[in-house]
């Protein structure tokens, strides 16, 4: 990239200043969908959770599907960006901000679902461990409490991870703007000046955060998987669930990231910054995850089949050839049969359009996967007399659609206030190497006294 810092600034800050009618139209439509979802939620709180399609035995349905799905999408971000940071992959630079934003938004949306699905949501704070007048603490043996801690840690961590490298960019906007922008960005840039000390502490903090956030992200989705695996439900009670969910989460996260980046590239005219190489590299990751996902699915089914426990087989067959088989095979198509060949062929993988074609079915397929983990298992528990089924109502569908719209809306607004690409990090990639490096930063962090 041979752009001058000034050109980069101009290109990347343009979306902050100029918005077309398309932006307002999109924002209006998405807001309407989000409002509809909030209306549906209010309707549900007012009338009772029964307005959803949840029933006995399928006590968890769309809401928990969405919870797992969005928490999974959230792994796009921080985890990928952290891994790339730790492994010092330089091509990451235009990608990380976008990925981290996906994390924060998807996590916020996902974290809402446990509340949406509560029977008495007005008492949600009983999940929070605080010294209450009731004299009783929440039960720490419950995976839902683990969720509470894990998601909050992850939310705090990933928000920090998103915000820390933004301060220099906010300072940049502050310096170039006037009027209210100058004031607002002056505040949010926290008085960033750019001393070597600040730069160094920032980079050091980012390195520590990157190391810390990876195990947190792994634990979050493992714990989400344990929400299921800790309950003795056929098809849930399995040790494979932790890694299976983490792999699936990263898988869906990368796919979501590719789609988001392609959209931003198109809409914000970032063609010169988000280049096919970025998509290709992400595509390679995606291919690995697709194979890994298929490996997990295969391993899980095969062990179930050989185990031949009657209750597990009921769930097995209902997904293979029974009521849910159409969804199951759609999922396999979406997650493996469509994307894997596309991503395996270099000619296709290097084209942005094709990576998007591979990613869209993955998002759908991974949503289906979560649905297929929850519903067939719950509807076919041990005693055949208790077999049941599940059919969502408009309430769940509206709320589900609303969260997708909400994700879009948050991203849209985000792109209007944040430089969607980390400007200083991008410039860093364009830095000339010193001809004679005086005191090189070859000492590593850990080697410091």
């Amino acid at each position: 990239m041979d752009k001058t810092p000034e050109q980069i600034n101009q290109d990347l800050l343009r979306p902050l200043y100029h918005a077309s009618w398309r932006f307002y139209a999109a924002a209006a439509i998405l807001s309407a969908l989000v409002l509809a979802a909030f209306y549906a939620w209010g309707y549900q709180i007012y009338n009772g959770i029964g307005v959803s399609g949840l029933d006995r035995p399928v006590f968890w349905g769309f809401y928990i599907t969405n919870f797992v799905f969005w928490i999974g999408i959230s792994h796009a971000g921080t985890l990928i960006s952290a891994i790339l940071r730790v492994s010092n992959a330089t091509w990451r630079r235009p990608v990380t901000r976008c990925a981290e934003a996906i994390t924060v938004f998807a996590l916020s949306i996902g974290a809402m679902f446990p509340l949406v699905h509560l029977g008495r949501p007005w008492l949600f704070f009983w999940l929070i461990p605080y010294p209450s007048e009731r004299g009783i603490w929440p039960q720490f043996r419950s995976p839902l409490l683990w969720d509470f801690f894990a998601i909050n840690t992850y939310l705090i961590g990933s928000t920090t991870f998103l915000l820390l490298p933004s301060f220099p960019d906010f300072a940049l906007i502050r310096d170039r703007a006037s009027g209210w922008r100058k004031k607002v960005y002056g505040i949010v840039s926290l008085g960033w000046r750019g001393t070597p000390k600040q730069w160094h502490r920032l980079e050091m903090a980012m390195r520590i955060m990157a190391v810390a956030i990876i195990p947190v992200a792994v634990s979050v989705h493992t714990i989400v998987s344990w929400d299921f695996a800790m309950a003795p439900v056929p098809g849930w009670h399995s040790t494979i669930f932790g890694p299976y969910f983490v792999a699936g989460a990263i898988f869906s996260g990368i796919a979501a990231l590719i789609i988001a980046m392609a959209l931003l590239r198109k809409l914000l005219h970032l063609e010169e910054y988000l280049q096919p190489i970025h998509f290709e590299n992400l595509g390679k990751l995606l291919l690995v995850m697709s194979l890994l996902w298929f490996y997990f699915v295969f391993a899980e089914r095969l062990t179930t089949w050989y185990g031949n426990f009657p209750s597990e087989m009921a769930v097995f067959w209902v997904t293979q050839s029974g009521r849910y088989s159409k969804l199951f095979w759609t999922m396999v198509f979406c997650n493996f049969i469509i994307p894997a060949p596309i991503l395996a062929i270099k000619n296709l993988r290097t084209k942005i359009g094709w990576t998007v074609v591979a990613s869209i079915p993955i998002v759908v397929g991974m949503w289906l996967e979560r649905f297929l983990i929850i519903v067939p298992a719950l509807s076919h528990k041990y005693l055949p007399y208790t077999y049941g089924t599940y059919k969502p109502t408009w309430v769940e569908i509206t709320i589900t659609v609303g969260t997708f719209a909400g994700m879009g809306l948050l991203f849209l607004l985000f792109s209007r206030v944040f430089p969607i690409i980390s400007i200083w990090e991008l410039k860093l990639g364009g830095q000339k190497k010193p001809e004679a490096a005086p005191a090189l930063a070859s000492q590593e962090v850990a080697a410091e006294p």
Binding site: P5, E6, N9, P129, I136, W137, P138, Q139, F140, R141, L145, W146, F149, A150, N152, T153, I156, G157, T160, L164, F167, P168, L172, R174, D175, R176, G186, L190, G191, W192, R193, G194, T195, P196, Q198, W199, H200, R201, L202, E203, M204, A205, I208, M209, A212, I213, V216, S219, W424, K427, L428, K433, P434, E435, A437, P438, A439, L440, A441, E448
Partner: protein
Amino acid sequence: MKAIYGLYPDPESAQRALNLLERAGSDLGFKDRDIAVLSGEPYEEYGFGQRDHKTRMPWLAALGGVVGGLSGWWFVSFAQKSYPMISGGMQLVTKWPDGIITYELTMLGAILTTLFTLLITARIPDWSGRKLYDPAISNGKILIGVTNPPEMAREELEKRLRAAGAEVVKNFGN
């Protein structure tokens, strides 16, 4: 605060200016820590970007993690004992599940300690606007200067900053 500084278009000239200032400190009566460097990018490969590199941040983060984990463990055990209830045939204080919360709080402790160490050591937030700054660094310029320079050395400093290749030399706080 008062300062005199030059703005440099490229890191090489900035490095030259810094080298110059480091040598001149004893002549002109200012200390090494009065030398100010501001840039829009980290410039890790250059000497001026390497100043103030000494930090215990990783150790502090580790310590924060240990504190977080210990307090998590204590908290969970305390809560389980304070309202003793047997559940699912498990013991009162359940070590393995408690480990999960301990783990999460360890990570949270590390993350928060890192965040606060950063904020404290990088002296942010600071909205006072009294510190040396020039918006030109956002356009890729590098600021090298001296804070609270001795009045008599002002002209000499200005000359040397220019000699190192400064596009412009400015005074701050006058």
